[in-house]
């Protein structure tokens, strides 16, 4: 593979180093400016960024582990370690949601002192700290927050892009969290601006509630993604139906017997068993075609990688016996017109709808009842003759054997072997 001097930009380790540098700068700037102006959202967000630094280290570690090659003990590799981290990030985002909700609610409550007192009689809420906003602070606060917003959106998008490009769900999840940070910071920025220009700090708290909802939703998606991958949930009924349809369309495949799908990280694993009667030297073609077509579909369905295992299984032999009344002469064989002109009963063993063995039982001198008894003894399930005979049909049917009229006088055996 050709490498350029810019290829390091696509390295997940470079991306996460950049993320860590960004968070260090943010923590210092936000905590100091937030404490200065008494902005709970800004200070809290700055402190939250401390845990983001630790999280970035975990993402790097999980990327390293997930890249370790497959082994006997880890046949699908170790990509699910990233799902574990995605789950954890999803959970941490619920915590972040509660934090924003708490601070925004306190901010809103202080505009309604009676409700605030009533709520505080039941809940032990922290003291409201008003935002200090004046011309002396404004440009500092605006600058720090504005740069933070820009950095979060830029770095978050970069993380998501590289995460998708390099197939690392933990990088994508962390990128989404960074992007959510950007949203929170944007809310703070709006609050600062509304306070400065309209003396309306409440806008920040109302927007905070909206951001809490968005963060909660992102957290829910991540949690479910990690949960489903860890518990090896199927990749979805609609996708499985499509997989079955694709496999069934392949010449040589009768139908799909079993299908198992799950994800390992962003890799879809598909274990499919198809019923097929193809000969041994045809198996490789059916298997290769299934692999090619399913991998094309899984790629289109958005999976970064795929592992496809195709098994071919012969259909159930479905063994049974049928019999024909035949006339056997020197000139050849034909289906007998009636029992009186039949010379033999030809009894076939059928497997997979194909005659595999036949024997001839002479009928000369046998009465109707003896013929029926012979059919019963040979465990025949279907008996055929060319012309209709009500007595024969009644006797055969009463013995629990299906009675049929042959469509043509050509015997089955003539072409079956």
């Amino acid at each position: 593979m050709k490498t350029s001097k810019w290829s390091f930009l696509f390295s997940p380790y470079f991306v996460m180093t950049l993320v860590m540098v960004m968070y260090v700068v943010k923590v210092i700037a936000k905590v100091s400016v937030g404490s200065w102006i008494n902005s709970p959202v800004l200070t809290g967000d700055g402190l939250h960024n401390l845990s983001d630094i630790f999280e970035a280290v975990l993402v790097m570690l999980s990327v390293y582990i997930s890249r370790l090659p497959k082994s006997e003990n880890y046949p699908f590799g170790r990509k699910n370690v990233e799902s574990l981290l995605v789950l954890a990030i999803g959970l941490s985002m619920f915590g972040l949601t509660l934090q924003i909700l708490n601070k925004s609610s306190i901010g809103i409550l202080q505009f309604f002192p009676e409700v605030d007192t009533w709520v505080r009689s039941y809940l032990d809420l922290p003291t409201y700290e008003p935002l200090l906003m004046g011309s002396g602070y404004f440009w500092w606060v605006f600058g720090v927050t504005g740069v933070s917003v820009t950095l979060s959106f830029f770095v978050g998008t970069y993380q998501i892009r590289i995460g998708k490009n390099q197939e690392h769900p933990s990088l994508i999840a962390d990128g989404k969290e960074t992007y959510s940070d950007g949203r929170i910071e944007a809310t703070t920025l709006v609050g600062i601006l509304s306070e400065y220009y309209f003396q309306a700090p409440w806008i920040e708290y109302v927007l905070g509630l909206g951001v809490a909802a968005i963060v909660a939703n992102t957290g829910r998606e991540m949690f479910l993604h990690g949960w489903r991958a860890l518990l090896q949930r199927s990749i979805g009924k609609d996708k499985e139906e499509e997989i079955k349809k694709i496999a069934s369309r392949i010449e040589g495949v009768n139908n799909v017997d079993k299908l198992m799908t799950f994800s390992v990280g962003s890799t879809a694993v598909c274990i499919i068993t198809v019923i097929s009667r193809v000969r041994a030297n045809m198996i490789k073609h059916v298997r290769r075609t299934a692999e090619v077509r399913l991998s094309r579909y899984l790629k289109e369905a958005g999976f970064a990688g795929h592992e496809i295992y195709v098994r071919l299984q012969m259909p159930n032999p479905n063994f049974y016996r049928v019999a024909e009344a035949i006339t056997k002469k020197d000139e050849g064989l034909s289906i007998a017109g009636s029992l009186s002109t039949a010379t033999h009963l030809r009894i076939y063993d059928i497997e997979r709808e194909k005659p595999v063995r036949a024997t001839d039982e002479p009928t000369a001198g046998l009465s109707l009842n003896e013929v029926v008894a012979l059919l019963k003894r040979k465990r025949v399930t279907t008996f055929s003759i060319f012309l209709a005979d009500p007595d024969l049909e009644k006797a055969v049917s009463e013995a629990g054997i299906k009675f049929c009229l042959s469509p043509i006088v050509k015997v089955l055996a003539d072409s079956a072997f």
Binding site: R249, I250, E251, G252, N254, S276, R277, V278, R279, N281, M282, K284, H285, V286, R288, T289, V292, T327, K329, E331, G332, L333, S334, I335, A336, G337, S338, T341, E353, K354, P355, F386, L387, L405, S406, P407, I408, V409, K410, L412, D414, S415, A416
Partner: protein
Amino acid sequence: MDIPIKRLPAPPLSEATEPKVFVPDIIRNYPHFALSVAQILGVPLQIYAPPILCGVPGYDTEAINHLQKERLQYLFPGSEPVSEIAIDPGMIVISNSIAEKRQPFTVIAPRYMTKFDPHGKKKIIVSLGDGPTGLAASQFAIWFAKRIGFSLVFWHTTWRDHTVTSDDPRDHMNHHAKIVLLKAQTMAEEANVPYEVDVRTISEAIADGIVTAAYDHDCCLIVMKRGDAVIGSHCDSTVERTPIPLMVVA
């Protein structure tokens, strides 16, 4: 099995040639597949039904034939029983076992399919070599595809010529193979049948190569003609290896 066949000199294949679909056995998937071929060609399906060997009181040969016809019509609408067949250029026999042997007529081995082109792929692949067999297969395939409105894929696999530096497999084809391909393309253009060309350098057995290509192009039928090799043929190997229906041109 011994089917009475009239071996009369047949006129060459032309646009006016009327197709005839014949099935020797009403077992397995044959009649259903044959019926769908007959339907797509818009001709009746002929089913081999020999005469009854032992008469039955009250039923003469005509009555027996009438019964056979009635029952076949019920089972396979649009079919008719025949007790002998005459070879003509448009005749297509449906049978896996017959396709495995050299025959004076065209045979389709349906393999495991119960219907011709059940998924509406409308694409046929023709195997070309550097001799006249590929051209004969192309001629029949063009006639067949034109009749049913299908498109064609002309496929050729070539050995790598180590004196050629190009990566394009066409540059590795020998002179005769290039002429055959060009002629096949010209015939398709003259007949107004759409086609694609797929030339690959050999990477597996030729029979496996054509099956792989047929799957890659999503074709519903492979068309080949048996050559005059002293032992075996690509056609024999393909019959053994393809789960996709194969037409062996007479």
